[in-house]
């Protein structure tokens, strides 16, 4: 079995997934994906089996791709804040870096 991904690779994947989760405009989805990412990566912390680690890594890479697309769609149709959110509403138009 090939060597499993390095610790740096896992950390990079973790921070990318957190960044994608933070990009959701809906309060509920944002909090859910942040909480889920933390739980899922915490569960795999003690794992040593290289096959399982590789499988987990590959699955999370796929899920990250799904999360990025979902965050884009959510941003396109979002806009209102929930009563519970403490962030102020948007005051100016946001600009995308690649437009």
């Amino acid at each position: 079995m090939a060597t499993p991904p390095t610790r740096e690779a896992f950390l990079h994947l973790y921070s990318s997934t957190l960044r994608a989760s933070r990009a959701f405009s809906s309060y509920n989805f944002r909090n859910y994906f942040l909480r889920r990412t933390r739980n899922v990566f915490r569960e795999v912390q003690g794992e040593t089996n290289p096959a399982k680690l590789s499988a987990f890594y590959n699955k999370q890479v796929e899920e990250l791709a799904v999360l990025k697309r979902s965050a884009i769609v959510n941003q396109l149709y979002g806009g209102w804040r929930l009563v519970v959110e403490k962030d102020p509403p948007p005051t100016k138009l946001l600009e995308r870096a690649d437009s």
């Binding site: 959701f24 405009s25 509920n28 909090n31 899920e63 999360l67 009563v83 509403p89 138009l93």
Partner: protein
């Protein structure tokens, strides 16, 4: 990349601080999980083929997607993919199961058993079958909402066609003992067991073989999937014979003709797959939120009654606040999306028949609130709701003359209310 500047939408009045209410009505419907939407979008954009088209790639890829979705749903309930029939929702599945079985066996079987706390679609189908000449027994429930197994056993007759009992009640969250009921029904050959698992699937573990279920209704939009899709599990070994209610080109084993809505089917399949993957995590989280809600409310408000079994599904908490009117409570909680009773009965002013079957007093049934928590609910939302409820109930009780009398120690039930 795009050729034009992409602007994030500015929704109307969002700059003036318009906010959306918190959603705590998960039994009415659930938000579509973003991962489910991502799985659906290809079939609404480029891959729009009809899954029943046998001759070209558009049809083949749509058919493959539908079969994958069927497999995911079958895995969720422990069934074989060929047993799943896609319908337009749990209401259609319930109609199909009850009316289909009753009409197919109408020569020799004239009896149907159900409970008093079933969903409106089941009760209405039974009423329609009663008009056609069938006998229907509506089993009563105990005070905690669970049926009595000895009453069920006694109600089964030689001409019973089908027993229909829902797994998790949508108004109170009561979980019926499906495995024990399945064992009882299995002992009587020729009686089919149908369960409406719309609220249960994906939330509590269900296995059709372990629980001896012959027919099961599933709903897409209760599993964090899209609305407008559902499924019916129809057992093939031993074969359940039923008459289809929608005739046509013979799709779905002849039981439900019509072109399948590929995006919706794919959405429901993906939702079922995610539910199976996340079931334990979601259940732990929802139990945590539910315990938080109930303990915090009970600690600060008195005379609160929980309707239904405390060991039921934790995501559905039905509380009655004594000496407070339910509709005024709901109107005062304008920042929270709650329901008092089920969505299908909320149009009429009558108290919910489910609470009445549980033996709740009229006034308590009127002042009940149903809190529906789900995968996406947060602790901050629960805290906000608890604060709101405590302040609103206090304010409404201060205005209520009945509350004054209770505080003075007068027993309300001994008063003779005179008309004048």
């Amino acid at each position: 990349m795009l050729g034009f500047k992409l602007e994030m939408p500015r929704r109307e009045e969002s700059l003036q601080g318009k906010t959306r209410p918190i959603y705590l009505d998960m039994q009415a419907t659930t938000p579509v999980d973003p991962r489910v939407l991502d799985a659906m979008l290809p079939y609404m954009t480029d891959q729009y083929g009809n899954p029943h088209s046998r001759t070209h790639a558009y049809g083949w890829e749509a058919e493959k997607a539908v079969e994958d979705a069927r497999k995911h749903i079958a895995d969720l309930i422990g069934a074989d993919p060929k047993d799943i029939v896609f319908t337009s929702g749990a209401t259609e599945s319930n109609n199909m199961a009850l009316k289909g079985v009753a009409h197919f066996h109408k020569e020799r079987k004239r009896h149907i058993i159900t409970t008093q706390t079933e969903h409106k679609c089941v009760l209405d189908s039974c009423r329609k079958l009663q008009e056609e000449g069938f006998d229907v027994t509506y089993l009563p429930v105990q005070h905690n909402g669970v049926i009595r197994l000895d009453e069920l056993e006694a109600a089964i007759r030689p001409d019973t066609a089908i027993v229909s009992i829902m797994a998790v009640n949508n108004e109170t969250g009561v979980i019926q003992p499906i495995k024990e009921i399945g064992d009882i029904v299995r002992q009587h050959r020729g009686v089919y067991f149908h369960t409406d698992a719309a609220q249960a699937a994906g939330k509590i573990p269900i296995d059709v073989n372990e629980m001896n279920v012959d027919l099961m209704s599933l709903s897409g939009h209760k599993l964090y999937g899209p609305k407008g899709i559902g499924a019916c599990y129809v057992r093939r070994r031993p074969r359940v014979r039923l008459e289809p209610i929608i005739n046509g080109g013979g799709q779905e084993r002849g039981l439900r003709s019509g072109t399948l809505a590929t995006p919706l089917v794919v959405g429901m399949g993906e939702a079922a797959r995610i539910c199976k993957q996340e079931m334990t995590r979601d259940h732990t989280w929802i139990k945590h939120l539910s315990d938080m809600l109930v303990t915090k409310i009970n600690a600060r408000v008195e005379h609160v009654v929980r309707n239904g079994d405390p060991n039921g599904y934790p995501g559905c908490v039905n509380l009655s606040f004594a000496y407070v009117e339910g509709e005024s409570l709901l109107m005062a909680l304008k920042d929270v999306a709650l329901s008092s009773g089920s969505a299908c009965t909320s149009a009429s002013l009558e108290p919910s028949y489910v609470l009445r079957a549980l033996g709740a007093a009229e006034d308590m049934a009127h002042s009940s609130l149903r809190f529906g928590m789900g995968r996406f609910t947060t602790e901050a939302e629960i805290d906000f709701v608890v604060e709101k409820i405590v302040s609103v109930v206090q304010r409404l009780r201060d205005m209520s003359p009945l509350w004054e009398m209770v505080q003075e120690g007068i027993d309300i039930s001994t008063i003779d209310w005179a008309q004048h």
